[in-house]
Amino acid sequence: MFCEKAVELVRELHRMSDGQLPAFNEDGIRQVLEEMKALYEQNQSDVNEAKTEGKTELIPTIKFRHCSLLRNQRCTAAYLYDRLLRIRALRWEYGSVLPTTIRFHMCAEELEWFNQYKKSLATYMRSLGGEEGLDITQDMKPPKSLYIEVRCLKDHGEFEIDDGTVILLKKNSQHFLPRWKCEQLIRQGVLEHVIS
């Protein structure tokens, strides 16, 4: 049956239900496009044949191939779209700098999209809240206090906070710091929020 490869692509993404981004399946896309090209060309020639020689019995076959083309289109579009949703999530979870391992999983166009999305988000954030803008990627949970206690889960070296002061993040050291400074590192799993 046609379109098996296309649905493979969809399955690949569906397996990773938590939102992780697998490597871009360039090979798979290429195969689907090839199948589409073949189907299209066969349909072209059959349409001509049907028109010129009046072979109306070819019409079901043409319809059949047409359905397959639409199906391939749907699968590919959904694959690409879902990947974009995952990449968008990366901006919110990881921040604006992605680790190289994840960047390798993205194709050139996706990287470009990510950069554009970052820019749009930044522009939007700057336009809010008066002059300084508002960082809406912070405080994803309503904050209870200005300062929080955090514990360092791994050696992270020096970390600079607003007024230029530097904190040494060594494994198992605990710190009491302004919340907004820590949020990013907590999301990345470097620090742990301690509640007592």
Binding site: L146, Y147, E149, R151, T165, V166, I167, L168, K170, K171, N172, S173, Q174, H175, F176, L177, P178, I195, S196
Partner: protein, 571 residues
């Protein structure tokens, strides 16, 4: 210098600053740390908390943070050695030291600028007066060269023509004689002052009182200060009198907190924390164990009955029979015992204990309960936290264990507390078994001026005893047991030194000395200085890293000559 007004001279100074908290690894320090953290959270004082296990750690932590922090708070470390000499800080670094270790080093006492001691001045200190130990240089005339406390300096003239003046010569000789006399007296005074190591008021209590003065004290803080004091009692760092005095102080706070709710019409929710004064049994962890296990594994009862002997076991059975407690009940988990038995248990046990020669089976302490299930005595918490702090079961670092122990003190981490209790049970059993085997195999030998016991590698649970607090408990238990079981009157008055394998790869042992066992013991320990001298005189390779000077690390190969030197020194 000693701070007189801790709030003004310490808290108000740091409240707008960023602070580095260096905390030692003992339960009292952990409790003081929790209270201070709670205060800092209240006032949004930014801080960094670094656990330290010894002087090396302290030095490293200081080096790592000295660029970023000006104010350092040291808890249960730093007082008993010249801190400025050890750390070599810049002039603007300020150290606030809240430490129970005594004696406080004289340099720390008299430094006005950088060392601030959060210690009560009336805390039984006996610090020598300034003039007895420090001397401003008074050389006015042109003898030149003599600066500081040089002894008998050659007084070569520094280029100036020497005035031959008999009067001047006589005066100089007189001054030199006076100086020599002063220095000799100084040596004596310092020797007396520094000879015995002991402990002062719990750091947790000091910090709690700071909180109280600021009216920011909560029940959680009070409970932590109780645990801090109880830690000092469990590990026998303070005298009984001091313990009772401090209990009375805390009892006033407990009453004050409990009265707060009497006006309210609605009674407080069951989930709120309640602290109560208890005159409870001296049986470790008995409410979380079975009564039988607790009696067997608690030092006081085990030594009184001499449970390592068959006679002892018989006496225990008689004791239980005397109280009318069936063995089946007593072996059950405490919570499953019949209510009728639990009701007057304390009085019943006290009465029978008196008959069997145990006059102090009950002790003043506090208990806490919150929620329906959670009831703990202060000593339960101390044992649990200590077991977590020195956990050797998994291969975790000291700082990992510090974090776990610190966590278990929060009420929201009850599961960790229960884990700690389980570990503590194993530890107490291990101690009991080790004591029994040491006594029965006569592993404790008299070396003349002291008793000595060496735990060999391969002894069961010996890994537990590579840690200072566990080894201390074992040591005290062992000495008491020995005193109870030996007939040699002279040996009963001797102190005990114990050695156990510390780092098998490096070939070192941990050596610890405790003072002789007596009912009126003042808990003062002279081994710190003794170890130092013995190591020096034999060039033994030792590491005096622990904040308690009576605990050191020693290379196995040097053990023989080290011990010999000690014997000579102390005879």
């Amino acid at each position: 210098m000693f701070l007189t007004d801790i709030r003004k001279e310490f808290y108000d100074v740091v409240v707008n600053q960023r602070v580095a908290l260096l905390v030692s690894s003992d339960i009292d320090a952990l409790c003081a740390c929790k209270i201070l953290q709670a205060l800092f959270h209240c006032d949004q004082v930014q801080y960094t908390l670094v656990p330290v296990t010894g002087w090396q750690d302290l030095g490293t932590a200081f080096l790592e943070h000295k660029e970023q922090y000006r104010y350092f708070v040291l808890i249960n470390c730093g007082a008993n050695a010249d801190l400025l000499e050890t750390l070599q800080p810049e002039e603007d670094s300020v150290f606030f030291i809240c430490d129970t270790h005594r004696p406080v080093d004289v340099v720390n006492v008299y430094n006005d600028t950088q060392i601030k001691l959060l210690i009560k001045q009336d805390d039984d200190l006996g610090v020598p007066s300034y003039d007895d130990v420090f001397r401003d240089d008074e050389d006015e005339d042109s003898d030149g060269g003599d600066s500081g406390n040089e002894s008998d300096g050659g007084s070569e003239p520094s280029g100036k023509r020497r005035r031959f003046d008999e009067g001047a010569l006589e005066r100089r000789i007189e001054r030199q004689r006076a100086r020599r006399e002063w220095e000799a007296r100084r040596r004596d005074i310092l020797f007396d002052y520094e000879q015995y190591e002991y402990h002062g008021t719990s750091a947790a209590i000091v910090i709690f009182e700071l909180a109280w003065v600021m009216t920011k004290d909560t029940r959680d803080m009070l409970w932590w200060s109780i645990i801090g004091l109880t830690d000092q009692w469990v590990h026998e760092k303070i005298t009984h009198i001091k313990y009772v005095t401090d209990i009375a102080t805390l009892q006033r706070h407990v009453s004050r907190h409990n009265h707060r709710n009497e006006d309210e019409k609605n009674s407080v929710s069951i989930d709120c924390m309640r602290i109560t004064f208890e005159y409870d049994l001296r049986l470790a962890l008995y409410q979380h164990w079975s009564l039988y296990e607790s009696i067997c594994n608690s030092c006081y009862t085990s030594c009184s009955f001499k449970l390592w002997s068959i006679n002892g076991q018989k006496k225990l059975q008689e004791f239980l029979a005397d109280m009318g407690l069936p063995l089946k009940q007593v072996r059950q988990k405490f919570n499953s015992m019949d209510m009728s038995i639990k009701e007057n248990l304390r009085e019943v046990i006290e009465e029978s204990s008196n008959k069997f020669g145990m006059k102090d089976i009950r002790v003043q302490t506090f208990g806490v309960h919150f929620g329906f299930k959670n009831r703990f005595l202060a000593s339960d918490v101390v044992h649990a936290a200590a077991a977590l702090l020195e956990n050797v079961e998994k291969d975790e670092t000291a700082t990992d264990n510090f974090i776990k122990a610190l966590d278990c003190l929060s009420r929201s981490n009850i599961e960790r507390m229960h884990l700690g209790i389980d570990l503590a049970k194993k530890k107490l059993k291990a101690i009991r078994q080790t004591v029994a085997s040491c006594i029965c195999t006569n592993l404790i030998l008299s070396q003349g001026p002291f008793l000595y016991c060496h735990l060999l590698e391969g002894t069961p649970d010996v890994k537990l005893f590579s840690k200072p607090m566990a080894l201390t408990l074992l040591c005290k238990y062992l000495l008491k047991a020995f005193v109870c079981s030996t007939r040699n009157k002279r040996c009963k008055l001797l102190p005990l030194i114990m050695a156990a394998p510390m780092d098998v790869e490096k070939g070192t042992v941990i050596v610890l000395g405790i003072p002789p066992e007596s009912e009126t013991s003042n808990k003062k320990n002279f081994f710190g200085r003794a170890f130092e001298k013995a190591a020096e005189s034999t060039s033994s390779r030792t590491l005096h890293d622990h904040f308690d000077t009576s605990i050191i690390e020693l290379k196995m190969e040097d053990k023989g000559k080290f011990l010999d030197a000690l014997i000579t020194l102390l005879s």
